[in-house]
Structure formats: C-alpha cells, structure tokens
Point group: C2
C-alpha cells in the first residue's frame, strides 16, 4: 500500500491499553481501518516500562499490518487510553516518554471507551470484564467510578466473582460452611481434591486467572445455589448502583462493555438494563477521536 | 567457640520459614541457643528457589553467629517448618533439594509452631499475624485449618483486616458508603488525597503491606466506628470458630501466636480467650524438636 503525504498526515493511531492486552489501530480520516496490532498488557499501575513496550509493539504490528514502514508512526498523531493516568506522577511519566509518534494525546481508558461507545458524543459506560468501572461524560462534567483493581475493588467483575467463590469454597472445605455447589465445581475446574489444591492454582495469580471462574459462579447462581446467588446478587447490586450514580449527571446515552456485560444483565436493576444502548465504536476508535478532538479536528 | 565431635553431632538446627522471613537457630542438646540467623521470605507457594536461598542464608548466618564454619551445617541435623509442604509436588521438590545439612526433616510451619508452643506435647495453636491459620495435634490426630493465604483466605489476619478496610474506604470515597473514620485515617496513612492515591500505594502489594493497616482498623473499631467494628467482629468471629473447631479433638493446651493475638483477644469469644496458655518455646525450637523426634531422640 502507498499513501501520499496528505493522506498519511490524516492518519491517526488509536491505542487502547489494558490489564491483559494493548490494541493499536490505524484509522484513515473516514474512520476506515488500515491496520491493527495487538501486544501484551499496558497498565501503568503495574509497570511503566512494560506499558511503553506494549504500546510500541502494538504500533509496530499495526504499521506492518497496514503495509507501512516501522518508522512511519513518527508522522502520525496517536490517541492513547490507559488505566492509572489519573495518578499524577504516572501521567507525568507518560507525558515525558520519548514516544514513537508525531504527537501523543493520553487520557484514561475509560474516557476513550466512552468516546468510542457514543461515537464522540456525551454518554456513560460501565465496563465489566476481568475488572469493573464506570465513566460518564456530559458537557464539561465527567465522573469516574470504581476501577480500583483486583483485589481492592472491581466489585461485580469477573475476577471479583472468582475471588468471592474461591473464598467461600475454602471456608466450606474447612467446615465453616455454608455448603455450596461451587466447592465441587471448583475442585473439578482445577482437577484437585482439596483446599490446598485450589490454593496452589490461585495463590499469587493475576486477576485474569480468577476471572476464569466467573462463568461457573454465574451458572451455579442460575442453578439456585444460595452461596453463588449471594455473590452474584452483591456484585450486580454494585454494578446497578454504579449505573444509577452515573445517571445522576444525565448522560444522553449508556452502554455496557466487557465479557460480563451480557451474562450479568439478568441480575441487574431493570431500570439500568432498559437504558443500555449498543456501543457505536470500539475504544481504539474512541482513542483516535480523542486525538482528533485534541488537535481541534471535528470527530 | 569450639566443639568436639560428639558435641557437634548433638547440635540441631531449627528453621522456621515464613511469608516475610526465615529464622534459623542452632541448639545444643540442652536447648541452649548457640547462634541465630534471619534471612528473607521462605514460602514454597511463592517460589522454591527463593525458599532454598533463604534457608541456606539463615543457616550461614546462624553458623557465623555461633562461631562455626560455613560448611559445619553438613554435620548437623535440621528440622524445618514451611508453609505449603502439604502440597504434594512442593513436598517432593523440597525432599529432592541438595540441602546443606547432614539430614533434613521437613513439616508444615504450623506443626513446628505447635510443637514449640507446647514443648513437644499435644496441643493446638492459632497464628494471627500477617496471615491466619490453626493447627492441633493430639495423639495420632492432627487438624490443619485456614492458612490459605492473602487474598484467598486468612480471615481475621492483619492483611485481611487491611484489605477489608481499603475496600470499604474506596467504596466510601466513590459515594457508595457507608461513611467511616477509616477513610480519613487511610488517606492520612498514605499521605494522599483521593482513591487513586490509596490504589497507587496498595495495587499489587504484598500481604505485609496490607497488614500495616491492621492497627488502624483495630483502633477505629475500638473508637466505635461501625464499619471498622463490623470488619473486626467478622474477623474475630472466624478466629473464634477456628478455635472451637480445633477444640473438637480435645487438645490439652492451646496457644495463640503472632502480632495480632493480643490486640484481637478483646474481640474473641470469652470461652476461647479463657483457654489461652502462653507458648513455651518458639517455632524454631519446635522445628528442632521435630527433627529430634524424627531421629528417635526424646524431646
């Protein structure tokens, strides 16, 4: 593929960093995708070097995918959404980075997800995947809730459901009950016979590992297991409360994003579910819109 | 210092591995201490190489402290208490280690703590420090409860109290209440102004870091803060339940060990507190007794 100078200057790279992967997409002025690259985790809270490496790697792969040269990023503007950039010293460190772009605009991953979901318009989003958090942007107002990470917060997320389940199962196996179907399911899941077997598979593991248990918790809750139900109800109540707090600033649109958004829906407050609209664009395009907004282009 | 061959052969090294440090003590036949060494964490669940390094280092320091040569460990029998050795593959890996002793006998850190607490006799112990767990040994019967580690279990431990407090404070700061004195105390503790400041200090940190918050939680509970009280009451109820389950096999003696044993006592079931006896010897001496028992010596 070849581009003339004007076309290349109009290209924007949208980058969505996250706790498990980093995705970079190169967009033309009409939002069409020229190339995409995916690299490892990019969460500044867990390491800046790794974050920068993942952004660079995802960008290289996207350039390659678009048939461009490795150095061509230097001619493009990048929009980047990252967790933890609301922490002042991390934001400063990221701003100081010798990035491989003509210009780089950084904001929270929640902000870019929200811009994407509503194609640049005002609105609110809740993300419930491995973690959970909420964000709303209306005029000059914005509101960011939750997203404190595993195991500090992220109630109602996949990792939170998995951790609660493992805690209950370990209490049950020690005879501190209450008895729950989750015990047999988790022993099967890890192919072990006792509490230490479960501990061995979970001790020191990442949130992603705990999140693999979320479907089991939801299926036991659906099968009316009281312990699993109590966990899912508590998580869903938090997500509903998160939504109602976002609604207080009257976002005109609301979307739910992430792998748990759909399976959690039956457990959420009906007034929340009724307001859900589909997302209009992915977070990387939201990041690209953000960069264009910063440049003064319309989105 | 100098020892003749017979004296040296009677020396036993008692080693207590743990999540934050590893302590080795060289004992003469009359239990007098010849030298002590302390090294870093020795928890096989979080890494075997590190565990072996810590055991070797603590031993070297103990030999040095006793005025012995680095290689003299090779002439001595060691008793070692370690977490996680009830996991089959870890036990096998530890048994296969080319250890620096004449002979090495390994059991759980709970077992050696219990042998120490009751000077070789039957009894029960609960450990509540950074983590929490319970163990009882009566005749041929033994019972091991809890000790599943942060953040899976260890209810009522310092790390658990700290994590619960941080979770409640982050909910409070997001407006999901209930309001609690803990919020101001934790913001002061970390010298920060908001939720992200707390997250920055705790994200990905070890159980020891969370446990530094335990005293704050206990003092807020004592000052009748409802949120702190609910946390401490839930933790103390678990520790009391742990004790009652250990009492089911009728241990003739019961001790509580660890930095939280004393401050938690006012919150425990009075029937549990009434049964507490002081420990008679430290876990390292328990480990030395264990080695002598395995050798067929009386302790």
């Amino acid at each position: 593929m070849g581009f003339n100078q004007t076309e290349e200057q109009a290209l924007v790279i949208g980058i969505d960093g996250g706790g498990s992967k980093c995705r970079a997409t190169i967009y033309a002025a009409d939002d069409s995708v020229l190339g995409t690259g995916v690299a490892g985790r990019a969460n500044p809270l867990y390491g800046l070097t790794h974050t920068f490496d993942s952004i660079s790697r995802a960008t290289e792969l996207a350039l390659q995918d678009a048939g461009l040269k490795a150095g061509d990023g230097k001619t493009m503007v990048a929009g980047v959404g990252l967790a933890g950039v609301n922490v002042a010293h991390l934001y400063q460190a990221i701003k100081a980075w010798q990035h491989p772009f003509a210009e780089m605009y950084v904001t929270t991953d929640l902000h870019t997800a929200c811009i994407g979901a509503h194609k640049g318009g005002d609105g609110a989003v809740i993300i419930t995947g491995t973690g959970s958090c909420g964000y709303a942007h209306v005029g000059e107002q914005s509101l960011s809730l939750g997203g404190h990470g595993f195991a500090l917060g992220d109630k109602g997320s996949g990792a939170w459901l998995g951790l609660q389940a493992a805690q209950q199962v370990l209490l049950d196996l020690d005879g501190f009950g209450p008895a729950t179907q989750l015990t047999e399911r988790l022993l099967e899941h890890f192919k072990v016979n006792d509490a230490m077997g479960i501990v061995e598979h979970l001790a020191g593991k990442s949130s992603g590992c705990y999140a693999t248990l979320a479907r089991t918790v939801l299926s036991c809750a659906q099968a009316q297991d009281e312990v699993a139900k109590a966990i899912v109800v508590e998580g869903a109540e938090y997500i509903s409360a998160l939504a109602h707090k976002l609604f207080e600033i009257h976002p005109p649109r609301f979307s739910m994003i992430g792998g748990l958004a759909e399976p959690l829906a039956p457990w959420l407050d009906k007034r929340v579910v009724d307001k859900i609209s589909p997302i209009l664009a992915p977070p990387e395009l939201g990041a690209a819109y953000f960069a264009r907004q910063q440049l003064g282009f319309s989105s």
